[in-house]
């Protein structure tokens, strides 16, 4: 693209000053050694560097430093908060364990009390039942004894009557006194 430039420039060369002569002479070789363009490049480079320096040092770098510092402090705070929460969790677990042990002891106490109460009630009921049973048994025994006594009397009366009948039937007369004595003697035997 520059060869065209060179041709035109060579034609116009005569019209230009000494600086341009130097420019054209070196343009034939390395453009890097074309000293005629140096003031231009250096001027714009300095402008560029100054602009970049002010943009970076006044705005960008403080901003990035601020963001990095903020992030660092956020991370530090978060780690501290996490540490605190962890501590709280440990404490909560301890409290839970203590509460659990207490609850367990309480439950055991309540169970023991209930057991004792039930046992006492049971014992009382059993004793009462025993009393009732023994009273009933005594009553029954008495009734049985009465019935037995009644039965013996009846047997005696039946035996007397039967004996009197039998004796009369056989034609023999016996007084009541001797019959009773005989029956009593037999009943004992």
């Amino acid at each position: 693209m520059a060869s065209g430039t060179e041709h035109t420039a060579t034609a116009a060369d005569a019209a230009h000053g000494a600086a341009d002569m130097a420019h054209e002479a070196s343009a034939a070789g390395m453009p890097q050694l074309d000293f005629g363009t140096f003031p231009n490049q250096i001027f714009w480079l300095v402008v560029t560097l100054v602009v970049i320096f002010f943009v970076l040092s006044r705005v960008a770098l403080p901003r990035i430093a601020g963001v990095l510092a903020e992030r660092q402090s956020t991370i530090t705070n978060d780690i501290a908060a996490a540490e605190e929460l962890k501590q709280k969790a440990v404490e909560a677990e301890e409290a839970y364990n203590v509460a659990l042990a207490e609850a367990r002891a309480e439950a055991q106490k309540i169970a023991a009390e209930a057991k004792a109460e039930i046992q006492a009630e049971l014992d009382a009921a059993q004793a009462q039942a025993d009393d009732v049973i023994s009273a009933k048994a005594a009553e029954s025994e008495q009734a049985i004894a009465e019935i037995r006594a009644g039965a013996v009397e009846s047997v005696k009366a039946v035996a007397k009557d039967t004996t009197k009948e039998i004796l009369s039937a056989m034609g023999s007369k016996a007084d009541a006194k001797s019959i009773t004595a005989a029956i009593n003697a037999r009943m004992k035997g």
Binding site: M30, P31, W44, L45, I52, L61
Partner: protein
């Protein structure tokens, strides 16, 4: 490009103009003389570099987000990388030079990468530009060295760990190497960028021959990949050397 092709056809053969891409020419007003204030293609690409830097570092970070966006992350990574480099290499007291070093680094980085856009112009391929950067670094470092350490800065050239007889000889060598620094500093950057761009242009010239054009195109691709690497590495090398020189100025003792 069009004139170049025309020129090639004119002579009826293979003509290379690998250095034409570096020619500084006015943007407006044809081929008039280039004064110091003339707006040229250099001005244009320097301005584009400035706009790109503003786009990344001002608009990219305008959210000031604690959880950064993508562009803010890039800005932060560049900031953190450079800041750590300055702090690690030159020490805590060099941190006040960080904005200056960051400016130089970002300017070279953006110019190098913008220069890789086809038909663009790479200001860092010019010794006028890299020379000014290197001389500025040289002057800054020398002035800082004398202001901070007084005449003690001269101990940089007096290798106290060497045998006494050797010290004057080493002092001469150290002194020469000190003054050669801006030369090597600027030519390393300018030369690398210029050579890469010129090589690509030479391969592009070969692409005009049908028989070897596939090879030429593949070569351009390969060299372009290499230049992507070189653009970053050379910006980094220039910056880290600046930081190392600054360390010498702040802590001259060997």
């Amino acid at each position: 490009m069009a004139t170049e092709t025309a020129h090639g056809e004119e002579t009826g053969g293979l003509v290379f103009h690998p250095l034409d891409q570096f020619i500084v020419k006015p943007l407006f007003g044809g081929d008039g003389p280039i004064h110091w204030y003339t707006i040229t293609n250099v001005t244009l690409w320097l301005a584009i570099a400035v706009l790109a830097i503003i786009a990344l570092f001002i608009f990219g970070t305008r959210g000031r987000a604690v959880v950064p966006s993508r562009t803010q992350s890039i800005a932060e990574v560049l900031y953190g990388f450079t800041y750590k480099m300055v702090e690690d290499v030159a020490g805590k007291d060099a941190v006040k030079f960080f904005p200056y070093i960051f400016t130089v680094f970002m300017f070279i980085l953006f110019s190098n990468y913008l220069g890789l856009i086809p038909t663009s112009f790479a200001p860092t391929s010019h010794f006028a530009v890299t020379g000014v950067l290197a001389i500025t670094v040289f002057l800054t470092v020398t002035i800082v060295g004398f202001v901070k350490n007084g005449l003690g800065f001269l101990s940089l050239f007096w290798v106290s760990s060497a045998p006494l007889v050797l010290r004057p000889v080493l002092a001469v060598i150290e002194l020469i190497s000190y003054f050669v620094r801006p030369v090597s500093h600027s030519i390393r950057l300018g030369g690398n960028i210029m050579a890469g761009h010129a090589v690509m242009k030479v391969f592009a010239g070969f692409a005009a021959i049908a028989a070897i054009s596939p090879v030429a195109v593949l070569s351009i691709t390969a060299v372009y990949g290499l230049e992507m690497l070189v653009a970053g590495v050379q910006a980094y090398v220039f910056t880290i050397l600046t930081v190392v020189y600054l360390k010498d100025a702040l802590h001259p003792a060997h």
